[in-house]
Amino acid sequence: MTAGEPAQEPAEDGQPSATQRSVRAGLELLELEVDEPELAVIEVVDSLYRPLTEALIVAELDGVEPEPGADMSDGPRAVEER
């Protein structure tokens, strides 16, 4: 669990970066406008968290005993105890 290296994906030749394009497209689908300063903040945050998110998405977490109705006030119980 390292702090991680920020993903480097600078815009080239004044062209929007992949992050900028995907964020704009995603927010457009939600009919939510985003301005340049907001995009700049998002790009910084994304450069930090995207590697962690991608690592999580590709993680194989098969075989984990599920915890249906998990109660955070107590430790986990086996499925048959529920």
Partner: protein, 450 residues
């Protein structure tokens, strides 16, 4: 020495014994807020009339006549919470009787002020708020920690002996560490959460920020609605997790915390052993994803779009970013939660507590809230959840206790985590630690409060 300079329990004891007039204590607290608050901006609202009414109607409970502050995250009958923000992002907040308000009222406490917080609770530093940043009493150019920034700064500046905060991804423990206080994150569900704006939360808890563990025991017990009994932590088995939780920290932080663990081991005639748990590499992102998506149900694109420039640029950007979090990531984060919970349950059969630094580096500057750790230079908000998020992700209790100061005079905090329901053990251990270091760190006051 003013009674306000004494711990919360001594204030309560003096009033109960008739040695102090609670009306005079309330006036003294209001005067002190007026005098010291301009330097730290910890308290964003006072209401002497309501405070005096609380005192007039106060029952003779364990906190009778004692002034306390409450984070701007909890509604009061005369004031809706604002979450340190100029505009709500969810439904408009309403004034009312939140659980912490009722708990304080029913035990005789007097709420003397509402304390500042990081905007929307979305930061570990406290450097952003609609009321302006709260400042660290140990160095007013530095962050007090967040999101319970005001509770931390108010207690450290000796304006109140205790304050109620909330902890969703470390928000009580960061300010405790940055401000040299003791902060308790209860086991999920043990402390009152009534009236909180994230009603469906599985991560957020109310909890106390005080000078020491005994005061957290008192104020925490009020929030729990039960007495938190003292025990003997002799033979404490302390687990240390190898890797970044210890190694990727400012060396002064690591050294102070290692010394504290050794002092705790000696004081309890205990043992230290190396342990580890599964899923550790995904805890940081999972705790953030789970914590930050619990509020998404209250958000709509229209609500986000309606936020004006009186809301910070960072918040406007982050709220948009949250709308795009992939569902698969959230689902995986919930799976990680199960992995870590099962692994912790197994691990706690072999150790009583886990220990590591509460924050990786001391309080960063307000104008540049970044920290230097061995792996690089990062926003404090990025590194801090790695240290604290696991308690919220899994529900276990955690405490931050002051264990030293850096060469620049900034407080250092050690975090202890225990099994579900073992909150009392954390208080016992923190008290043993205080005894081991002669109460040097819990009794220290910052220059502006000396």
């Amino acid at each position: 020495v003013s009674l306000l300079d004494r711990p919360l329990r001594e204030q309560a004891g003096a009033v109960a014994a008739g040695d102090a007039d609670p009306a005079e204590l309330l006036d003294a607290a209001l005067e002190r807020i007026e005098e010291r608050n301009p330097a730290v901006n910890a308290i964003v609202d006072t209401f002497p009339e309501e405070s005096r009414r609380m005192l007039a109607e106060a029952p003779r409970g364990p906190l009778y006549g004692v002034p306390v502050a409450i984070k701007d995250e909890w509604p009061l009958p005369w004031r809706a919470e604002s979450l340190g923000a100029a505009q709500p992002v969810g439904p408009p907040p309403k004034a009312g009787e939140s659980g912490p308000y009722r708990a304080l009222r029913d035990t005789g406490a007097v709420i003397v002020g509402v304390a500042n917080m990081h905007e929307y609770g979305a930061g570990s530093t406290g450097h952003i708020s609609a009321f302006g940043p709260a400042r660290n009493p140990w160095d007013t150019e530095r962050c007090p920690g967040g999101s319970s920034s005001g509770p931390g700064a108010a207690v450290a500046a000796r304006m109140v002996g205790g304050a109620v905060g909330a902890d969703g991804v470390g928000s009580i423990r960061y300010p405790a560490a940055y401000c040299g206080l003791t902060g308790l994150k209860p086991t999920f569900g043990r402390s009152t959460m009534q009236g909180h704006h994230v009603q469906q939360t599985t991560t957020i808890v109310s909890g106390p920020l005080c000078r020491d563990a005994a005061d957290c025991r008192l104020l925490g017990g009020v929030l729990y609605g039960e007495v938190l009994a003292s025990g003997d932590p002799q033979g404490l088995r302390i687990g240390l997790v190898p890797g970044d939780l210890w190694d990727d920290c400012d060396p002064e932080v690591t050294d102070a915390c290692r010394h504290a663990v050794e002092a705790l081991r000696e004081a309890t005639a205990g043992a230290v052993k190396e342990v580890d748990f599964d899923g550790r590499e995904h805890v940081l992102i999972s705790s953030i994803l789970v914590g930050q998506t619990e509020e998404l149900a209250d958000m709509t694109p229209a609500r986000v779009a309606s936020l004006g420039e009186d809301v910070s640029l960072v918040a406007r950007a982050l709220l948009r970013y949250r709308m795009l979090i992939p569902a698969v990531a959230i689902s995986k984060a919930l799976r990680v939660r199960t992995v870590v919970r099962r692994s912790l349950a197994e691990l706690f059969e072999h150790v009583d507590v886990l220990a590591w630094p509460t924050v990786a580096a001391p309080a960063p500057p307000l104008d540049n809230p970044t920290v230097e750790v061995p792996s690089g230079h990062y926003p404090a908000d990025y590194v801090n959840p790695r240290q604290a998020g696991i308690a919220n992700l899994t529900g276990v209790p955690a405490i931050s206790a002051p264990v030293g100061r850096t060469s620049e005079g900034l407080p250092i905090g050690l975090q202890l985590l225990a099994p579900w329901g073992s909150d009392e053990l954390l208080l016992d251990a923190a008290e043993a630690l205080e005894g081991a270091n002669g109460r040097e760190w819990v009794d220290a006051a910052p220059p502006l409060a000396a």
